[in-house]
């Protein structure tokens, strides 16, 4: 019945949605923020740890959400490790643009391997209501690295 949704819900997404990686807290993490998507009631917490040189040594998340937002968060925590904060933000920007525009070139500034992994979520660009699900963890990570306590995507109607 839902064959044409396989593009949105690729196997990787279903897998990460069902069994999220790095689904835990990091005690005393260097960066930490709450993300809230009032539209669907999704709430995430993102933790990022760095070493003295500013390289990300660990990233994790906790929270509840739909398959898309959980899978996106799970993938993100896997990919952040080994990057520095600037690279993490660059990934966020590219990913955000890909989700909103559907343009694969958006990931030009991101390494090929990472770009390939992020592309599994490019299907959301055709579902405007779901873009925020895919980007919530990334927004939250971005806010955390700026020292902000939390972000909320805009509110719902009626």
């Amino acid at each position: 019945m839902f064959d044409d949704l396989r593009e949105l819900y690729q196997e990787v997404i279903l897998d990460h949605g069902k069994s999220p990686r790095n689904f835990r807290e990091i005690d005393h993490a260097k960066y930490h923020a709450h993300g809230n998507n009032p539209m669907c009631g999704d709430q995430l917490e993102v933790f990022v740890e760095t070493d003295d040189a500013g390289n990300i040594t660990d990233a994790s998340f906790l929270g509840k959400g739909c398959a898309i937002s959980v899978a996106s968060a799970s993938l993100m925590t896997e990919m952040l490790r080994g990057k520095n904060i600037d690279e993490a933000r660059k990934m966020f920007e590219g990913f955000h643009e890909m989700c909103t525009t559907g343009d694969d070139n958006a990931l030009a500034g991101v390494g090929q391997e990472d770009a390939d992994r992020l592309q599994v979520l490019s299907g959301v660009s055709e579902f405007p209501m779901r873009v925020k699900c895919a980007t919530l963890a990334w927004h939250t990570m971005n806010a955390a690295t700026k020292g902000e306590a939390g972000i909320s995507t805009e509110d719902e109607r009626g």
């Binding site: 019945m1 839902f2 044409d4 949704l5 949105l8 819900y9 279903l14 069902k18 009032p38 539209m39 669907c40 009631g41 999704d42 709430q43 509840k64 959400g65 739909c66 398959a67 898309i68 579902f127 209501m129 779901r130 699900c133 719902e156 009626g158």
Partner: protein, 416 residues
């Protein structure tokens, strides 16, 4: 459509004939026939309502209450005739007790800003329930922050039943207002409002009922209920958006100051002072939603023509059938099972988040609502972030419930 779906035919209500009144129901979504199960958010419009609006624009439109020319007079007559229809629909004692607003939200804000500011003071208590829509919470929070009134919250059971015992305990000398929903938009619970009103009045409190959901499913008689205020929106009652209603008892409306200032609501103005117009115009500053009011009158005619009891029986049958069919889906939990509940069915599924459910069934042409339904405190109470909600209107069928069931089974397969 399976055999059981067609076995029971409601003798008084011809749903197929009613469906033909709603042009939008013939369209397809993603190549599938539309199955519209989101009427609790906003209902579709019958041709009778669409035609009434078009007719007035094409034949009788002008501003109301100000021109002496022919069109202004006839348009005024049409709008006032609509007001009279709504009076009869609610069985209000007087037409002046029917105030046109934009929606239920504005009606509640009007009462909070006008009646609340004039008659409430620090320490006075307002009782709400755990089931309230945000629009029956925030206006009272404004008053709390402005005046220091205290909000007390009447609880519901895990099944979503309104707890009369706990409500009785909250009532006291300080209670000045009970502002409560007549029917929950999430749980479908019907609050025993006649008892609520009686008990509140015994305690010396006024009662505002949020009828945004209830009016579309059950006959409402404001005099029998003896409520002080009753509010609803046109768009959920198969009428236009942009028009809503505040019913208030005459003596209360008379005592209340205007909500907004402007044209239409004054009798005489100098730069020193103004005299307010009579009811209900005192509360209707500015050019109103004229065609929408007329459209709402047509919607009320349409509903009464079909018969509220017949509609109610049809919807009760759909709700029972849907409850039974959805209960058979493994891992699906129905949220809100109060006895006597009405036509909304909220649920969660173990295998999928409501948002994913919504995206999937949309592909099958099924429109349901997912999220917190503007009732976040209720979601917290039920320990849920969100639910999926199918809501039934007069035009829905058992066959559509079957499509919903099949699409939810497919959701389970997809994620399971």
């Amino acid at each position: 459509m399976n055999a059981t779906a067609e076995a029971i035919v409601n003798p008084v209500f011809d749903v197929e004939a009613a469906r033909r009144d709603f042009p939008i129901l013939t369209r397809e979504i993603h190549g599938k026939p539309l199955v519209f199960l989101d009427s609790a958010a906003s209902a579709q419009k019958p041709r009778q309502v669409i035609d009434a609006e078009r007719y007035i624009y094409e034949n009788e439109y002008a501003n109301v209450h100000r021109g002496i020319h022919y069109l202004s007079q006839i348009c005024t007559d049409r709008m006032e005739a609509a007001r009279e229809k709504i009076r009869a629909f609610l069985n209000a004692a007087k037409t002046g007790e029917i105030v046109f607003t934009r929606n239920a939200t504005e009606s509640i804000n009007l009462v909070a800003a006008s009646w609340g500011r004039k008659f409430l003071k620090a320490g006075d208590e307002i009782i709400l329930s755990e089931m309230e829509h945000h629009s029956n919470i925030i206006p009272w929070q404004f008053l709390r922050d402005e005046l220091g009134v205290v909000l007390r919250i009447a609880p519901v059971t895990d099944d979503g039943e309104f707890r009369m015992d706990a409500f009785a305990e909250l009532l006291g000398e300080r209670t000045k207002l009970v502002a409560i929903t007549h029917m929950s938009n999430v749980l479908g619970t019907i609050v025993p409002v006649a008892d609520v009103v009686r008990m509140a009045h015994d305690a010396g409190a006024r009662v505002l009922l949020d009828g945004a959901q209830a009016v579309t499913h059950i006959p409402v008689d404001v005099q029998a209920l003896d409520c002080d205020f009753y509010v609803f929106s046109g768009h959920k009652l198969y009428g236009p958006s942009g028009i809503g209603v505040l019913y208030g008892k005459e003596e209360l409306l008379e005592a209340m100051p205007p909500y907004m200032g402007g044209g239409e609501m004054i009798r005489a103005v100098t730069f020193e002072k103004a005299e307010w117009a009579e009811l209900p115009y005192k509360f209707e500053a500015g050019t109103p939603a004229i065609a929408q009011a007329v459209g709402l009158g047509a919607a009320v005619d349409y509903m009464t023509g079909l018969g509220l009891d017949a509609i109610g029986a049809h919807e009760a049958d759909l709700l029972n059938y849907a409850t039974q069919r959805l209960s058979s889906i493994k891992g699906l939990k129905i949220i809100g099972t109060a006895p006597g509940k009405s036509s909304v069915l909220s649920f969660t599924m173990d295998c999928a988040h409501p948002h994913d459910i919504g995206t999937l069934v949309d592909r099958a042409g099924v429109a349901i609502r997912v999220g917190h339904h503007c009732a976040q405190p209720l979601m917290d109470r039920m320990c849920l972030a969100a639910t999926a909600r199918a809501s039934f209107g007069l035009y829905n069928t058992r066959g559509e419930v079957d499509v919903l069931t099949e699409s939810l089974e497919a959701v389970q397969e997809f994620f399971g």
